[in-house]
Amino acid sequence: MSEFLLEIGSEEIPALMIQPALSQLKEGLLELFEDNGVGIDALILNQYSSPRRMTVAVSGLPEAQPERQEIILGPPKAVAMDDVGKPTRATFGFAKKNNVHPDDLEIFNTTKGSYVGCRVKHAERPFSEVLQEGLDAVIAGISWPKSMYWRRSRFRFIRPIRWLVAIWDGEILEYELEGIKAGRETRGHRFLGQSVLPIECLQEYKSVLRDHFVLVDEEERREKIRREIEAETPAGLEVIEDEALLGMTCYLNEFPTVLQGRFNEKFLDLPGEILVTVMRHHQKYFATQDSSGKIQNFFLTVLNTDDRFLDDIRCGHERVLKARLEDAAFFWENDRKQKLEGRVAELARVTFQKKLGSYSEKTERIRAICNQISGEATLDQAARLCKADLTTETVFEISELQGVMGGLCARSEGYPAEVWKAIYEHYFPITVDNVVPSTLNGAILSIADRIDTIAGCFSIGIRPTSSSDPFALRRQAQGIIKILLEKKLDLSIETLIEMGFKQFEIRADTTVDEVKDFLIRRIRYMLANDRGIDYDVINAVLGIKIITVSDLVRRAEALQNIRQENDFSSLAEADKRIRNILEGRDLDQSTSVDPSLFETQAEKELWDYFSILAPEIEGLLDQSEYEKSLSLMARLSGRLDQFFVDAMVLIDNDNLRNNRLAILVKLARMFRRVADISRVVRFKD
C-alpha cells in the first residue's frame, strides 16, 4: 500500500475560509481516487491546517493503477451515421483523434441516447501518475468567497501559493503548480521555527511541525486555547463563552497561546454590552464577568507565539484596548448628549432603501404595523424610537450594537422597561441560533420591522436568490417564524403579511402570494430541519388553512408521533379514497345523514361509532389536543375499511348515494380539522 502527503503552503488564508476549503480539497482528492478505481472506504485520510497551509495525508492507496479500459463517447449516432448507415465525417474525425480505426468504433447505448464511441486500453501505471495528472484540477476546483490572481496565468486562489509539499511513499512527487515545484520542504512558525523544514514521510509531519511551533492539528490548537483560557481566567471570574470567536482564533494562529490582560476599572462605567463588543469585534478578545454577570476589567487574547515574552506583548495589547475603550467612552458620552427623541427627526436623512424611503418612513410603517397587533402605548413609544440609534456615533463605529445601543440610551433616559427592552431586543434573533426577544413588546417590534422589510423589498422587486440576498430576507423570515413559534403569538402569517403590505401603495396580489410562499418555504425548512418532521406530514399540515405557526407545529408533531401506528396508516389510506370520491363534487356540507336509509351493517356501524366518538373528538380539537383526537379518529379505521368493502358509495340510487356521501363529508370535515391526512404516505416496514 502507498501513502501520499500534500501540503499547499500559502500566504495567510482568512481564518473562516480554511475549514471549508480544506474539506473541498479532501473531497476533490477522494473523487480523483474514486474516478481512478480506488475504493475509498479503505483509505486512512487525515487533514491538517494552519493559517499558512492546508494539508491532506492519505494512506492505503494502491501502488499502481492496473491495466484498464476506458470508453470514450463520440458524436451521437444520428450525427455519426448518414441515412444509409455510412460513417460521416464527424465519425472519421473522432476515430482519428483517438487513434483508432473507424471499423473498431462501436455503438454505446446510454441513458442520454446512442453514441458512437471506442474502447481505449490503458496500460498499468504507477498510481502517482494519477496524482500528477489530477492535482491541478483538484486544487483549482476549490472555490473561495473572494479569490485573487497574482501571475500572468490568472490562476485564482485565495492568496498566493508559496510552496508545495508532495511526498509519495517517502519520495518527492514530481509536480509543479503556478511555477512552484513540489518538494519536501515545509515551513515552521514565521519567527519561532525554521523557515525551511524537510519532511521525510507523512508519519512525522505533525511532530516535525510541532517542534517548529506550528500546531497543524485543528483539535490540538482548539484544546490548547481552551485549556489556557481556563488557566488564565482570574479566580472567581468566568470567561464569556463565545464558540464563534474560539473557532476563529483557532484558525488565526499557528501556535496559539492565551494571554491575560486588564484595563482600567474606570471603563467599567461603560455598559457591559459596549465593553464586550469592543473587545470582541475590534480586538477578538474574550471578555470576563463575575458570577452575577457583571463584566470585569480582565480580558483574554490568543497570541500567535509562545510564552517567552508575555509582559511586553501584554503591554501592547492593553495599550491598544485602552485606546479603543477611550474612543467608545467618548462616543457613549457624546451620544447621550442628544436624546433619542431628538434623533428621531434626523432619521429623515438616513436612507433605508432608495425606493422604500428613509428610516423615518420605515419607523412610521413599523408603528402602524405594531398598532394593528397591539394597542400598547409603550409598544408605540418603542416603535417610534427604535431606529433612533442609527444616528449615534457608537452604532456608526460598531454596527453590531444597533438596537442594543438604542435600548441602553432609552434606559439611561428613564424610559420604562417595556420601552427600552423592546428597543434593545428588536433585532433579536440576530441569527437563527440566537435567542428571540424576551418581552412581548420586543417580539412584536421585531416582527413588524422584519415584515416591513420583506413586504417592501418584494414589492420593489428585490427577492432573495441563491447567490444574493442583500437585505438578508431569508434570515428576516426565519426570525419571524422563530418568534411567532417561541412566543406563541396569536397571529396568522396571512394577517401579518396583510399588515406589512398595507403600508405600501404599490402592491400586487401576486406579490402578496409570493411573500406567503416565501414564508411557507421557511416554515417547511424549520419543520424539517429543526423539528425533524417528515415531508409528507409537512404537506398534510400545510394542506389546510394555517392558524398560527405554533399551532401548526403542534399539529405536525402530533401527526409525526402517530403516523407509524397501524390504525392511523389505514385511516390515512381511507382518507385518500374519501378525497378521490369527494373531489369535484359540489356537495352541500350541511346535508344530514339519515340512518333509516342504511342498507348495510357496515354503514350503520361506522355511523354509530362516529356518532359516539365525534363529540369527544370535537371537544379535544377545541382544546388543540391533536394527538389524542387523531388516535380517537384512528379507531374508526376498521369500520371505515369495512364500509368501503360492503357499501358501494357511487350507486345509481340518488337517496342512498347522497346519504353515503354525507357520511364521508362529515368524516372528511372532522379529519381536516387537524390536517389533510390523505397526504400522509403509508410507512413501508
Binding site: 481564518a15 497574482w150 514565521r190 480586538q283 497570541l303 507565539t305 501592547g316 491598544v320 474612543d327 467618548f330
Partner: protein, 280 residues
Amino acid sequence: MTLQELIHKLHEFWMDRDCVIQQPYDLEVGAGTMHPETFLRALGPDPYRVAYVQPSRRPGDGRYGKNPNRLYKHHQMQVILKPAPSDVQEVYLESLRSLDILLEGHDLRFEEDNWESPTLGAWGVGWQVLLDGLEITQFTYFQQVGGQDLMPICVEITYGLERIAGFVSGTDSIFELEWSPGRTYGEIRQREEFEFSKYSFEVADSDALFKMFEIYETECGRALEAGCVRPAFDYCLKCSHTFNLIESRGAISVTQRVEMIGRVRNLAVVIAERYVSQYE
C-alpha cells in the same frame, strides 16, 4: 527612535531594495494610494518600485488635537512593488526588523482585510498586519484600479507611521511622540490639528464647497479632452478631498453621498482608461 529616524530607516531599507524614493504628492489626499505614483503606476505593463511618505488628510477623523489616537492628518509610508515579488511578506517583515522590532518577542499576525476604494474604482485583497493587537500596516494585492483589471499585479504596503512610532517608543499619545530629538509631535502639529478640525467641522462653507466640486469636476473633463491625463487626475483628487470636506461638515444626505462618490469614481475610471490607452 524618533519619527524622523523611523522614516529615514524605512527610506533606507526600501532604497536598498531598488525602490525609487519619491516625495509626497503636493495635493490634499486621503491616502498614499491616491498619489499618482500608485494610482497611475499600478496601471499598465511597466514594472516599477517606489516608496514615499504621504501625509494623508481625513477631515472626518479630526479631533481638534484632543484625542490621543486620532488625527485629521496622519502619515503613511507607501511602498509599491510591481510585480509583487514572491518573498514580499518576508521582505516586509525584514523592514520591521530594520526598525529594531524583535519579531520573536511579539505577537504578529496577518489578518484578512480586503481594501476597497469606491471613489477610485479600486480594490484588492490582503491583510492588516497586527503587532500585539495594533494595526500597523495594510498589505494589499491590487486587483483593479480605476475599474481596470491589472496585469502585472502589484503589492501595496502601507505603514501607519504614527502607529509604528508609538509602538516603538511606547508612548500613550501621538502628541507625546518625539518627532526629532527634543521636539514632540504635539509641539509641531497639535495647533494644526485643532485648526483643521475646527475648519472642517465648523467653518467650511458647504455651498462654496459644492460649487468647487462642480468646478473641479468640469475642469477635470476639460483637461481630459485635451489629452492631459495627469492634470485631469489632479482635479479628480481635488474633487475627492472637497467631497470629504462636505461630508465632514455633515452637509450631505446618504443618497447624495452615493451620488457624489459615483461622480468621483467616474472621473477616476475615465482617467485610468486614458492612461492605459497610452500603452496601446
